[in-house]
Symmetry: C2
Subunit: 376 residues, 2 copies
Amino acid sequence: MTPKLQRFLAEAKDTEPFVVVDVDVVEQNYRELRRLLPLAKVYYAIKANPAPEILRRLRTLGSSFDTASANEIQQCMDQGVSTDRISFGNTIKKKRDIAWAFEQGVRLYAFDSLCELQKLAELAPGSQVFCRVLMECEGAEWPLSKKFGCAPRMAADLLVKARELGLDPYGISFHVGSQQTDLNQWDKAVAQVSQMFSVLQQADVDLRMVNLGGGFPARYRTDIPMLEAYAQAISDAMTKHFGNKIPEMIIEPGRGLVGDAGVIQAEVVLISEKDYDDDRRWVYLDIGKFSGLAETMDEAIKYRILTPRDGGPTGRVSLAGPSCDSADILYEKAEYQMPLALEVGDKIQILSTGAYTTTYSSVGFNGFPPLKSYCI
Amino acid sequence: MTPKLQRFLAEAKDTEPFVVVDVDVVEQNYRELRRLLPLAKVYYAIKANPAPEILRRLRTLGSSFDTASANEIQQCMDQGVSTDRISFGNTIKKKRDIAWAFEQGVRLYAFDSLCELQKLAELAPGSQVFCRVLMECEGAEWPLSKKFGCAPRMAADLLVKARELGLDPYGISFHVGSQQTDLNQWDKAVAQVSQMFSVLQQADVDLRMVNLGGGFPARYRTDIPMLEAYAQAISDAMTKHFGNKIPEMIIEPGRGLVGDAGVIQAEVVLISEKDYDDDRRWVYLDIGKFSGLAETMDEAIKYRILTPRDGGPTGRVSLAGPSCDSADILYEKAEYQMPLALEVGDKIQILSTGAYTTTYSSVGFNGFPPLKSYCI
């Protein structure tokens, strides 16, 4: 935690939970990623945290932006981002949103199906398009599913079709899974992509770009390889499979840029036991699954938590949010420990919460307000 | 679907998804519940849907209100509900919220721990309190957990303690689980509660109230017993275990009052396949887990869906939301079928979505706006 964050937290007078992001840390993360992967163009996945201060800082640093919707494109434009630095990276787009984005000047689009390709040909003629490929990936903490991408053989056909339809078949994207801990996944994925480049070359389609997606980690409870190791795994895979003909590279970090830059401060509302012979305490916070911590779904992301009583003896706890919903439990199976001296009213800090917190929070489930957000 | 709803949906010009609630259906549901359980006082669980029109209609009908937070109490008061008709039913309350509620005149509070009881004794002296008991219940579609309630023997001690602390030990609450399909659960639960009444009488504490919670169903894809059967199960259990000394009864329907009264209208954004030999289509809607359909978490609640192409041949589909989050899948395992003739741009209706949709939706994940809501 940076001194700037520590000072802010110590001085905060808020009675409701909030997240505070140190934008200087976002900048450091960006510079570090650029240093480690100089060949890759960074498209910040703004869904991770669209705070204007973050968008402005990254714009100034030269970043590009990966967007999921017309509103996200607007949010970038509102912060002075020109549309030639914006990718409409969602493979699921309404026709009118494609038309609007094209009108604004966006010329880079994702797709993973014939249906989407036809929409793009009609409403964004001549644009650069990349096809998302479905990879079977293991090792990610936040699971991917079959929702995005299509089989490589289908992707290859669609990229040929793209050219027929008057679009520019620019490249291939894949995603190894958010918070990916198994670095071998990069090698497997890049190998497959390079094969597709060859196949398409035979069909006279010259792909020029590999979009490596996100998957760059933040520091949660599980030990993860350092960013250096990630960058190395990617560089090695690209060199191994593309030799000296390395294509343009795009990366789409979200969590990797802003996750560690943010801290949530929350309050202990209740500490209770369920029975006399049950030594597990239940600790209830004023923040939960529906007010910012949605990524605790199935206990997927395990945040590190600081309390003012750290250092003394600890005991097992279940951690839950303040709502009347029985699904609003943060950790029941993850075996969290908290100080026995913990008290109602204590302010606690939930670390690495700069990503996927503010925008995930509900408009007001159980009457609890959305997560307040500061950028410093 | 009522003619009023059908007319509204047919005439709607919205380009984004919305929910519309027929407040007359809420009224019918309320009257039906009153008719079937005349001895029970209805406290509407406003977390299910706090729309002002719903609160006003139920206030006029004589309903009381179960609230989860200071904001929900305020929302009731804003619609003219007097605080003697409000229960602060969350067992997890901040001290300042208890103090504020007491100041407003709220005199009925839930608790399930010594810690909460002490807060109530300090900040809501003399109030009626009821203890939530932890029941091991099976058969509910939306699972309960150990988050709420304590063991019956602990609850009994706490109710004795409540009197010592100057509070009024009013009764016991339990919850058999939302969308409960096994009616025997009511008998098991009421049996346990009646035993506690006897135990406490021996300690000279005269409990006067049983709070039976919610669990009243809406009509989703699974067949459920009719409301009559629920009411009968409850009446039978109360008579069997309390004889001719039936205590006051409180019920807290949320879903049971507003679930069936609402319909979501959404749009098909994309239909795609993942591979040539995979006959399962993926159908993407402009609404998902993060914009109103949070209860599809783990495919718990299975909504019925209408399309304009119903009647023709159908095929297997996975259903997903519009966001770039791979967790934003509605149904992948639940084996939904949709018409083969379904097309991008088709408007579909998701039934029984009046409860737990508007307030669950995120403030703007992926830039998608919160679910719009109409009451007619």
